[in-house]
């Protein structure tokens, strides 16, 4: 009885120690230092919480821009060559209303950063953390202020003599063209009938799950446009060469003469129009299931030496049990009969040459032995 009690006590003590470890995590992690937090805590929020002290002029920004930004974003921040445009599509009227009209009327199909961004802090934060593209986090704080000022100057939001700083940036925020353009899903008054922030929200589109007679007449409203036809390469090469389906070699939708492809299909004959409009048989691609064997990367002799475990006894350069491969290369250099001899030794075994014996390897495919021997003799690495 005494023993039993003791056992129970021990078990419950163990359980206690598990419970304790689940709440606290002794020995895991350490307190971050003030300097460490300062080094990594770089984010700047919409209300400018987190923005460091500093100032930069439009002129400084212009200098940095020309050196480090213009090659991707264009001299005037307008380029679409590499990334979307930074500047463009905003008006003085937008600065008053805080709504970019071009977003509503679609007059600027390519939306610029200044058209979209409601919070100036975001531009500051992003340049500071991620720019320049190939050397992020290398600008000084003042340079970041300067580049932001220069972007706003290019967007005709700030004058050329402006100096942007932590002290006046909140005032400049009040002129951002799209500052009132956001419907935050965090704001319950925007999301009375739906919500895409909360997991438990509702959708904004209702589709009754009809099962029969759901559509009177099915009409195709859009097909692959011509410009997209060949853009994605040969689809046959993007599907398996076996299985339920193949990839199409040339999609009918993408055929230069879809009506002729249709004729080809119906008559299983090849046609092409001539000047008189009559149809002459020619070679003409039609849609068919095309089997494209995958690109096979041939295994190299050196890879085979490893796969067949030759390297367990032979080093690439040094002797292990048998001679290193480069030693063999050197010994048989210029010997025309070496290949046949070594194939024989590898296949059937041999002894005496290097002071040991080579076991036979007749189980390895002859062509593989040949490839490996050629690799050794050619000094392949």
């Amino acid at each position: 009885m005494y023993k039993l009690t003791k056992t129970i006590l021990t078990v419950s003590l163990l359980a206690l120690s598990f419970a304790a470890s689940a709440k606290e995590l002794p020995g895991i992690g350490r307190t971050a230092t003030v300097k460490e937090i300062a080094a990594w805590d770089i984010d700047v929020r919409g209300d400018f919480k987190g923005i460091p002290k500093g100032a930069g002029s439009v002129a400084l920004g212009n200098k940095v821009w020309d050196e480090k930004c213009a090659s991707c974003h264009g001299t005037f921040g307008e380029s679409m060559e590499v990334f979307g445009p930074i500047v463009g599509g905003t008006t003085k009227e937008d600065m008053k209303t805080g709504h970019v009209l071009a977003l509503a009327d679609g007059s600027e199909p390519k939306r610029s950063t200044l058209m979209k961004v409601a919070t100036l802090s975001t531009i500051w934060d992003y340049i500071n953390r991620a720019m320049p593209w190939n050397a992020p986090k290398t600008l000084t704080t003042d340079e970041v202020y300067g580049v932001v000022a220069y972007i706003l100057n290019m967007g005709e939001i700030l004058p050329a003599d402006f100096v942007l700083s932590n002290e006046n940036i909140a005032e400049v925020q009040k002129t951002m063209p799209n500052r009132n353009g956001m419907l935050s899903e965090l704001d319950s008054k925007n999301t009375s009938d739906h919500n895409m922030w909360k997991v438990k929200g509702k959708g904004d589109v209702k589709n009754p799950p009809c099962m029969k007679d759901c559509v009177k007449k099915v009409e195709i409203t859009s097909v692959l446009p011509d410009y997209a036809c060949d853009a994605h390469g040969n689809i046959a090469e993007q599907n398996r060469h076996f299985g339920a389906v193949r990839g199409a070699d040339t999609l009918l939708a993408c055929n230069e003469h879809p009506n002729l492809a249709e004729l080809n299909r119906m008559h299983n004959t090849k046609y092409q129009p001539d000047a008189s409009g009559s149809k002459q048989p020619v070679t003409f691609a039609m849609t068919k299931p095309t089997t494209v064997a995958p690109e096979i990367a041939e295994t190299t002799g050196v890879e085979m030496l490893k796969q067949n475990k030759c390297t367990a006894c032979h080093g690439m350069t040094k002797k292990i049990v048998g001679p290193g491969f480069s030693e063999v290369t050197a010994k048989y250099k210029g010997d025309a009969k070496a290949e046949a001899h070594l194939i024989d030794v590898v296949t059937n075994g041999g002894s005496g040459v290097w002071g040991g014996s080579m076991p036979p390897h007749g189980h390895i495919k002859a062509e593989h032995i040949k490839t490996m021997v050629q690799a050794i003799l050619s000094g392949a690495k």
Binding site: F83, A130, L183, M196, D213, G233, E237, Q307, N308, I364
Partner: protein, 454 residues
Amino acid sequence: MSNELKKPGRIIRAPENFIDASLSQAITKNGLNEERRDFLRKSFVAASAVMAGGAALTQSAMAATFEGDPLILNHTEYDQTLGLPVAANPYGVPSKYETNLVRRESPGLTQVGGASVAFSPLQGLFGIITPSGLHFERHHQGWQDMDPAKHRLMVMGMVKNPKVYTMDDLMRLPSVSRMHFIECGANSATEWGNVAVPTVQYTHGMISCSEFTGVPLSVLLDDCGFDKKNGKFVLAEGADGSGMTRTISMENALDDVIVAYGMNGEMLRPENGYPLRLVVPGVQGVSSVKWLRRIEVGDKPFDAKDEVSHYVDLLPNGMTRQYTSVQEAKSVITSPSGGQVLIGKGFYNITGLAWTGRGKITRVDVSADGGRTWRTARLETPVLSKALTRFNIDWVWDGSPAILQSRAMDDTGYVQPKINQLRGVRGTKSIYHNNAIQSWRVADFGEVTNVQVN
């Protein structure tokens, strides 16, 4: 067409071009190797079988002249030789015959590979787990292969005790392993206005599903003593050049967000955030910050670049929906799908994927007539919350034109919408969160193309 199956043994009548163009090009360019010789030989066999029987070959006539498949009648290069030893490939790789199905970029979508997307080849994948090497890629400033021994995670902000954790620390903590999809918010973005890309790889290939292993974020927040009253949001930040930052709701953070290091039984792949990433189940992929190095607790959202300038949804009236995080119910038929060609009339297994960021898929219906009539598909197990669900349904193709669609429902009762219903509410400029029903037209000669219907 010549692509009907003559008999169960799969003797396919060879058309006049019995060698396909790419093979003949390859022969011209590289000469005949064993592989191609073998292929040619088979093509000849198939062609001569047809020529012997003639075009009007009946099954009985075929039986009289056809002795059998040489691949059955003869020994093969595999059954009379010794194979390779164990551990020939110490970290295994797919068969050399599987190189067609790889991640691919969509040409013209982006100008810089470091800020781009490589799409997952959904058209050939099975089940619900994406092979780690085929998980879609989306980077904002290139990917890095970071040394785990040098990686640190800091948890700070509105916490009693800001802390630094090493990978050693994190991997000692209680772990969970859960299957979840990660879908880019811009998946199917090209299709808002009209059909733009040919195959399911490019329409839907920014989704993948893995088993992720790691520490629940709630464990770390508790360990640092986060402010339970005022801490409403969490900022996640990456250690890459872009310093990717995203605001996560505290509700999600305490529910099922994982600070993950494992993926499908191995460590994360570098392209997927090795050695540490956040996994925010059900929320657009950009929130699952890769190369995670900092968690900050705050009382307001953080207004990061990818929640102000990108990953926001423009409405027709010019206003922009911000903080649209959840991926709503969606599905797509992955085979037969755009760019594929059916190899003959008869039986097919229509197969596809369904998912929802709000919970579990409860039903998937499939239509073969453009949405006029629907049949309910089989859901394969497991059906997990915020994970891909595989559906299958039998289909006998009689050779007539068809339009294939799938429609998912989730456990909130939400039904995946038609594209025109979505456009009715959100217009065509939203870029993100296109979860519309996908339509694939099957032509009477077997070609499947991407279309949209009313």
